[in-house]
Symmetry: C2
Subunit: 346 residues, 2 copies
DNA sequence: CTGAAAGCGCTTACAG
DNA sequence: CTGAAAGCGCTTACAG
């Protein structure tokens, strides 16, 4: 392997000082067009690619952003969010020469260590904070560390940091209205862990939307986003004196588990109970019955979050701002239908 | 934000030269125990964490490994492999101060650009090459770039690079034997894209294992690992003159789609057809019927691959070696049963 | 507009 | 065992 070409090679080949080469290559003012072009041409000829190491040290930037996903690896696997989210992040950062370091952390304790190391070793220029908890310790931590950070959460949340994400309010409201319009009067909810901001938002929206139609919110069961927890929710539901006629689930995976549990217990979906999900994952259109759900747009969220982080890194003093992502569309599947009584009545 | 403490601060506080501080902190010989301890103590007091930027430039290492996943983001989402695989990678590298840069690339063209940039910008010290294709261009590319690389593939594959992974031979053979023992004589296969090494291995193993039991391999249908493709496979299967009594699928997701498609077409599983998967993802135990499958161990593969890459980076001249990962266990679910004729016969 | 110099924070030969 | 010096490949004031 021959020596890599450095900016010194480019400068000497162009007959200029390395400071001129640097300025020209970085598109900075103070270089005549003639020499700028010559330097660019020579850099190309020599296949010059600046070393991130030299650049990092001199410019005090890592050209790297950090993303710590705080959840168990097994849960991550099931989550439909990450592929698309990360693809979106990449789309936003790649052209700036930035790169994303990705870590999984099952616990807050490990997350904290990872963030501290990121900051102390100057390994990243900023971080993405995902899956916000109620009273999330990470907010205080990134502030303490002076680490630029963008939070991903429903845009209804109030945090002292730049934020982007989708609100579930329009989606869950549409889901509830769809059910009420079908004739449902007893609409239950299978919630996610309520210490997560996004599941709390969905739960509250379910209750508010049901009330807004003049109905009493039905039973509420707490689950944890997984298929297994949806299945357990089905078992708890089937032990009730009276089944609700419809269930709004916090997400698709949970709804898929719920449907499987109900079907295993001999409860027909949607004949006996209608079920809705949230996320619009690929699988939701392939299960039987196909799921009525709301599409999330993780790629758009990832792209926006990363773009915001880059802006914040360029201007760290900037006051927090929020960029809402438009809510995704309602997808009506075969898992929702009029309740039996209504069908009989007609 | 106060100034970060640097090695200069540590050295001057300890009253030694920075070279001594460096040697002591990095556990290198040539420092007396007394001064070594003193330096360590002072570094701790000052909460010194070495800057990766300085370290990188001086030591000509990035302390970063690259992982480019070459597939569409949507497919990634569905893939159960990555969460656990990445968790395993982290486990292996975190203590060495290494970090993983993660990229998704839908095409070979983009992958090539990413690898070239990694190499040219000295952004990573090595890469993980996953999901090996038949005649994979990445093998030649990493060699050309002089980029240390570890390949993840079934350990039956022969490539001129260090390799780790699980062979599907024991698992698929066990699956086929299970079906034959139940009485099946017509065992079909839904394959993954056969230009992938791992799906080719599974296909070939299916054919060999069926033959080894003195039977003719049944129909073979090509799919692409997704639920949707499994569903399409079901439709093609149902158009055949005679249904096979059992189907070995390339992976769980595909098997889940196949079962959904069969059930939608009124074909009972396992009453009419037995179905097997591969991977042992969480979902496979929650679908109805629960899936007979073989567990994959992505975390072990990730950990081993990353550990190997670190070894290779430390000794780039090392001759390629292979570390096989023990195959995972057979999981017998409710999706396999004796064929109807056998049940009737008895 | 252009260039010489200092410096980012380390590691690594090399003298003593 | 210990220290002074050079150097990794850039960027960034600062003179000219």
């Amino acid at each position: 392997m021959s020596q890599r070409t450095t900016i010194v090679d480019v400068a000497s080949a162009a007959g200029v000082a390395i400071s001129s080469a640097s300025a020209a290559l970085n598109g900075q003012p103070g270089v005549s067009n003639a020499t700028r072009e010559r330097i660019h041409r020579i850099a190309e000829e020599l296949e010059y690619v600046p070393s991130q190491r030299g650049r990092s040290l001199a410019s005090k930037r890592a050209f790297t952003i950090g993303f710590v996903v705080q959840r168990a690896p097994e849960v991550m696997s099931a989550d439909p969010f990450f592929g698309a989210f990360i693809a979106g992040v990449q789309k936003a950062i790649t052209d700036s020469g930035y790169v994303m370091v990705f870590q999984i952390s099952p616990s807050w304790e490990l997350s904290e260590r990872l963030y501290r190391r990121f900051a102390a070793a100057r390994q990243v220029d900023g971080v993405l904070v995902d899956q916000l908890h109620v009273n999330d310790e990470r907010i205080g931590l990134v502030k303490e560390l002076g680490l630029p950070a963008v939070v991903i959460a429903p845009d209804t949340v109030d945090v002292p940091l730049p934020l982007t994400g989708q609100s579930a309010v329009p989606g869950v409201t549409a889901l509830v209205n769809h059910l009420v319009d079908l004739g449902h009067r007893d609409i239950a909810h299978v919630a996610g862990r309520l210490d997560y901001v996004h599941s709390a938002e969905r739960r509250n929206t379910w209750a508010a939307a049901v009330s807004a139609r003049g109905l009493q919110p039905g039973v509420q069961i707490e689950a944890d986003f997984t298929v297994a927890s949806g299945k357990q929710a089905a078992e708890r539901l089937m032990r009730l004196d009276r089944l609700p006629t419809a269930v709004v689930c916090v997400n698709d995976l949970c709804a898929i588990g719920l449907m499987a549990g109900l079907q295993a217990g001999g409860v027909d979906v949607p004949g006996k109970i209608s079920v809705t999900g949230f996320d619009g994952i690929d699988l939701s259109s392939h299960v039987h019955p196909s799921l009525t759900t709301v599409k999330a747009m993780p790629e758009a969220v990832g792209e926006t979050a990363a773009a915001m982080l880059l802006e914040l890194i360029a201007d760290p003093g900037r006051a927090p701002w929020t960029v809402p992502i438009a809510p995704g569309p309602l997808v009506i599947g075969a898992s929702t239908a009029p309740p039996r009584s209504v069908v009989t009545d007609s």
